[in-house]
């Protein structure tokens, strides 16, 4: 099972969120102040880390940390 902490670690490694403590897992990255380009970087990093293709997933299905975790676990992601 992929956890929120694992996804947050990946986001932190990308460097797109200046204050990880302020990142609300229930809100979309956009609502957390992350622009679309940085969101692409996060999704790409998640693909590489967990081996799940997110290329054709609607952005709204993986908009927040909670949604990312749910999607990854539903699609066979391995840590």
């Amino acid at each position: 099972m992929i956890t929120n902490d694992q996804v947050r670690d990946v986001i932190e490694e990308t460097g797109v969120v200046p204050d990880m403590a302020a990142l609300d897992d229930t809100k979309s990255l956009e609502e957390n102040g992350v622009d679309s380009l940085d969101t692409y970087t996060v999704l790409f990093a998640l693909e590489e880390k967990f081996g799940v293709s997110l290329e054709k997933v609607d952005m709204e299905k993986v908009a927040s940390v909670d949604l990312m975790v749910a999607y990854l676990n539903a699609h066979g992601a391995t840590s």
Partner: protein
Amino acid sequence: MLGIKEIAHFLPETRKDNRDLMETFDIDEAFLRDKIGVMERRALGPDETASDMAVAALEALLAKSDLDVSEIDALVVVTQNPDSNIPHVSGLVHGRMGLPARTLTFDISLGCSGYVIGLSVLTSVMQANGFANAVLITSDPYSKVVQPEDKNTVLLFGDGATATWIGQDPVFVPGHFSFGSKGDLDGALATRDGALTMDGRAVFTFAAGLAPKSVRQTLEQAGLETGDIDSFLFHQGSKYIIDTLATRLKLPREKVVNGLEKTGNTVSSSIPMLIEPLLRDGSQKRLLLCGFGVGLSYASCICTRKENT
């Protein structure tokens, strides 16, 4: 030994300031400068065409070199926005510039990978046929297909053209080419009914994933490491993708050339525009070129200063 002897460029006079679009697209100057990287673009007039830019670039090349039109054995134009489907743009340039009847002309239909691939194609054609001099032109006026209301593309693309003289006794010798294609992503960057559409996320994922692999493959083929390269000349897709590639390849930022701010993404012209000022900089022994985009496709090579080959 064939290679790049000289490069010239042409930019249309009309300037488009991206700051004028900030309110329309709800963006600020920091986003323009730090993410898009384009503050100003150039645009052809409505009656101007790819062949007009190509002719202007060739005239600039002839003016700054001792190449004479009578010496040109082959003329190739890289474009996907020709004056018309028939005839080819290089044929139009041939006629307007009074090139010899024996000159081979053909176009290459490629976008942002077109210059690197064009270098390989043209040097191969020259070697196979014993040609001494050829000109590789890039001229792709995206203003013809970009839609003014499309935030994804209108802030990025600018018009511009280059002309590269390829011949004996060059400054830079291109080699160690690597190529690749992702034809299943054909819809990521395409025109539909004459309008350009771009899936920014798909293009980003493609470039961030495959361009570094292409760079590494080229270095491996050459038996070199990143530290052996003086400058990395990536296609100027956006500042964001250039920064992403630099980060993923762990490159020192001073070795990654950025030339977007005043021209925008000029498609196949972006890489030769970066090489042009480096021709006379003797400290630049090896350049790594990497183009990626329409197709989707990608290509890399290393240009080595002749004395260092």
